[in-house]
């Protein structure tokens, strides 16, 4: 190789010396990728009446390995100071993929061949490549770490000062959204779903973000809330508005009961015990069939009424419906819009409550406890009681959300309360940035709303969800909008309203 007559060896040697480690690295990565994919991707097991049979897909293995190989080279170039070279590789690849994908016509064949048969996989790869090219571009043009200004310290600070305004704008938008034209039934359904998760995220934020208690079984409280409403409506004929406080009280009670024995435990143990509780509640719901309906769940849960008026086409005997009372034409979207406003209000109450709690002694004790439990004990804060209030309050909001969920669905079963729900809610809180209220909103839209838009790609949805969780976390380990600084600031010259020293100390 070195003695190639075409090139002068003296010129070639440094290039080779530079490329050698990169190529070796890439070859190693490709080797690993081969091991990972050769059986798992290359051979698909199909069960026939004659037993298991194999289908081969080695072309996919080959493309995957090739992508890893060249991706690794590009990454090494990007991080090894040869940004331009890396950019050429990744950018060229992105361009290739874009052309290949965008020119695909009716025949399914574009100007350029695309590596994967599945368009979805191609798009994912392309987007990743474009992301890397953008990063390389930033590196090239700015010469620094490449992060946009928003994500830097000063950027984050100015963003934080703007937060109240952004929040107000978001709330205003949320209130007027149903009146826009684009708000059709599908969008409204999605908005209700996103807001449910926003509320759950805000509830869990009290426990995880403020008090620093890692709760992997939050869905248990969601389930308790939902089942409390379903069962009280089934056995005692309670309506939504009467049942709502009952649900909240019930779940808060559950939270305190569950929390009492386990809150002595440290972080990870607490996580696993709460996970255990989540599973126990689900197993009980499945097996206590004569009371909870078992795996079949409970149906016929009443919908929320508007001051006793229902949202249905035909009124019941001697009752008015919403549209007949207000002399409107019946529209099925009305009910969704009503649900939307209910959950919006519930979520905003959760938010307001949390924000006010943060200013109270107990809220400050939560944050202090999160930072250093030993110091808190030394200062005379009772950690168990403080944690219990956080746990109980977080549970209560989970219960409200559960109650709403039951009323919205009209049918609940233990299926809806699996561990994956807990993981999603926790992911929303952590991705948003622990303790950040607006981060929860952004993360909910990202994790719930965006995948919901790609419903057609159902089978890839959870795959992308899991992968996205890993990527975002690796990219920004402290969450999208992380700020862990205390609510109370005692800096000179930067006195905020809450920084008055006379104000309550815990």
């Amino acid at each position: 190789m070195r003695q190639t007559s075409l090139f002068d060896p003296a010129f070639l040697r440094p290039i080779l010396a530079f490329l050698r480690p990169i190529l070796i690295d890439a070859a190693k990565a490709a080797g690993i990728a081969t091991l990972l994919t050769v059986f798992m991707v290359g051979i698909r097991t199909v069960d026939n009446p004659q037993g298991l049979q194999a289908e081969y897909r080695f072309d996919d293995v080959f493309t995957a390995v090739a992508i890893v190989f060249f991706g690794r080279i590009a990454l090494s170039l990007l991080s090894g100071g040869r940004v331009l070279a890396g950019l050429v590789v990744v950018g060229g690849f992105s361009a290739w993929m874009l052309i290949a994908l965008l020119t695909v016509g009716e025949t399914g064949i574009g100007l350029l061949p695309k590596p994967f048969a599945s368009t979805v996989v191609c798009w994912i790869v392309t987007l990743a490549a474009i992301g890397f090219s953008l990063r390389g571009f930033f590196l090239l043009t700015r010469g620094d770490k490449g992060a946009p200004a928003v994500f830097k310290e000063e950027g984050a600070l100015s963003l934080r000062r703007m937060t109240p305004w952004i929040g107000a704008a978001l709330i205003l938008f949320a209130f007027v959204m149903p009146w826009f034209d684009f708000a059709n039934r599908r969008i409204m359904d999605m908005a209700v779903l996103v807001l449910t998760y926003v509320m759950l995220g805000w509830g869990l934020n009290i426990v995880v973000g403020l008090a620093g208690l890692l709760d992997l079984g939050y869905v248990a409280f969601y389930a308790v809330g939902a089942y409390t409403f379903a069962l009280t409506s089934f056995y005692f004929d309670l309506g939504f508005w009467v049942a709502l406080p009952v649900c909240g009280a019930m779940t808060a009670f559950f939270g305190v009961m569950l929390g009492f024995p386990v809150l002595r435990l440290r972080g990870d143990y607490l996580a696993i015990v709460t996970l255990g509780f989540g599973e126990i509640i689900r197993v009980i719901l499945i097996n206590w069939w004569w009371f909870t309906g078992g795996p079949d769940g409970i149906r016929g849960i009443p919908r929320p009424t508007f001051f006793g008026m229902e949202f249905r086409r035909k009124p019941r005997e001697g009752e008015e419906t919403f549209h007949s009372f207000f002399d409107l034409d019946y529209s099925s979207v009305d009910r969704i819009v009503y649900l939307y406003y209910i959950i919006l209000l519930l979520a905003l109450i959760t938010n307001l409550f949390t924000m006010r709690m943060r200013r109270l002694p107990v809220g400050r004790a939560w944050e202090a406890l999160r930072e250093d439990e030993v110091a808190c004990r030394a200062l005379g804060i009772n950690p168990v009681n403080t944690k219990l209030t956080a746990f109980g309050l977080g549970a209560m909001f989970g219960g409200f959300a559960g109650c709403f969920f039951a009323a919205r669905q009209g049918f609940i079963s233990p299926e809806s309360f699996t561990f994956i729900e807990s993981a999603v809610i926790l992911a929303i809180v952590v991705l948003g940035g622990l303790g950040s209220q607006i981060g929860v909103v952004i993360a909910s839209i990202l994790l719930i709303g965006v995948p919901e838009l790609f419903r057609e790609l159902q089978e890839y949805r959870m795959l992308a969800f899991g992968g996205g969780m890993v990527l975002v976390m690796v990219w920004r380990p402290r969450g999208l909008l992380s700020h862990r600084d205390p609510t109370v600031r005692l800096f000179k010259g930067r006195r905020t309203k809450s920084a008055r020293p006379s104000e309550g100390t815990a």
Binding site: I32, L35, L36, F39, M40, V41, I43, R44, T45, V46, D47, G51, L52, Q53, A54, V208, L214, P261, V262, R264, L265, R266, G267, D268, Y269, A271, I272, V273, L275, G276, F277, E279, I280, V283, I286, N287, V374, A375, F419, I420, A423, L426, A427, V430, L431, L434, E459, Y460, M462, L463, F465, G466, G467, G468, M469, V470, M473, V474, P477, R478
Partner: protein, 304 residues
């Protein structure tokens, strides 16, 4: 008496499998202090790799059972430990030194990813495998309840014991084991003394994944069916076992595994099958409340 003996045998078999998975949890927790949530799914990948390799060997014409089993075991271990390594490299190493919750979230993300990855690639339906090792000894005769000790059960327990011997040797006597224990005590000091911390942690994941792969292989043979969801519950129970035995303690993980297996077997035998998971979790909660360091764990002193 006879049912008791049968439950004991079943419980120890099940417990060996939990124990093997639990070692992966406890090692990782010991060395980097995180719950490797994706470990249960690595075990599931091990089971799937075993099925696929077995299928391929059948197609290639390797039909002599002992040879086929050894090959399946070796290949499944190699392939699965690559997964263990890759998970660590991609999801945990970039977050080393980050705050405590971050790797836990990536672990959950990885777990979701791996489950759906396998579901997409291999299909959601469970994969049946024709029974390979059948037959059993009858331990009692004469009474109406026959206690059976299956050949597969013997294989599982013997393999587990053999692995434990090898593994104990690896940890106590080899340079790798020494550097692992060094990293467990103090990573910074270990790296100052010339231990390659990244490599050691990577190898810890490889060892954990290998043991999980063996467990997956044996489960495949024992139950004869796998699906993409087996990792979740097995993972949680194995973690429970690790905590029960005292997280960070290797013999504790095995002990905890056997105990969880026994609890499950006796609970389903004497009380109800439906609530066997509840039993395992309740034991976990009770242990944590009354003995937070587990059965064989060291009490940890919180430094300020």
């Amino acid at each position: 008496m006879e049912p008791f003996l049968q439950f004991l045998i079943n419980g120890i078999t099940l417990g060996s499998i939990y124990g093997l998975i639990a070692i992966g949890y406890t090692m990782v927790y010991g060395i980097i202090g995180m719950i490797n949530f994706a470990h249960g799914d690595v075990y599931m990948i091990g089971a799937f790799n075993a099925v696929i390799v077995y299928l391929v060997l059948g197609i290639l014409g390797v039909t002599w059972v002992p040879l086929a089993l050894v090959l399946v075991l070796l290949l499944a271990v190699v392939l699965t430990s690559t997964y263990g390594w890759a998970v660590e490299r991609l999801a945990y190493r970039p977050l080393r030194g980050s705050f405590r919750l971050a790797p836990l979230i990536t672990a959950i993300g990885m777990s979701i990813f791996l489950q759906n990855y396998v579901q997409l690639l291999q299909g959601a339906r469970n994969k049946p495998l024709p029974p390979v090792i059948q037959g059993s000894f009858d331990l009692t005769s004469g009474s109406d309840f026959v206690v059976k000790l299956g050949f597969m059960q013997i294989l599982i327990v013997v393999t587990t014991v053999a692995l434990m011997v090898v593994f104990t040797y690896l940890i106590t006597k080899t340079p790798l084991g020494r550097s692992q224990r060094a990293c467990e005590q103090d990573q910074k000091m270990a790296s100052l003394l010339g231990v390659d911390v990244n490599r050691t942690i990577g190898l810890t994941f490889v060892i954990g994944a290998s043991l999980a792969a063996v467990a997956g292989f044996m489960v495949t043979l024992y139950y004869g069916v796998v699906d993409f969801y087996i990792g979740f519950l097995a993972g949680i129970k194995a973690f429970t076992a690790a905590v029960l035995g005292g997280i960070g303690s290797l013999p504790g993980a095995m002990l905890g595994g056997i105990l969880i297996g026994l609890i499950e077997a006796f609970w389903s035998g004497y009380f109800s099958v439906e609530y066997k998971d509840v039993a395992a979790f309740s034991i976990l909660v009770l242990v944590l409340i009354f003995r937070p360091t587990g059965l064989l764990g060291r009490p940890d002193i919180e430094k300020v």
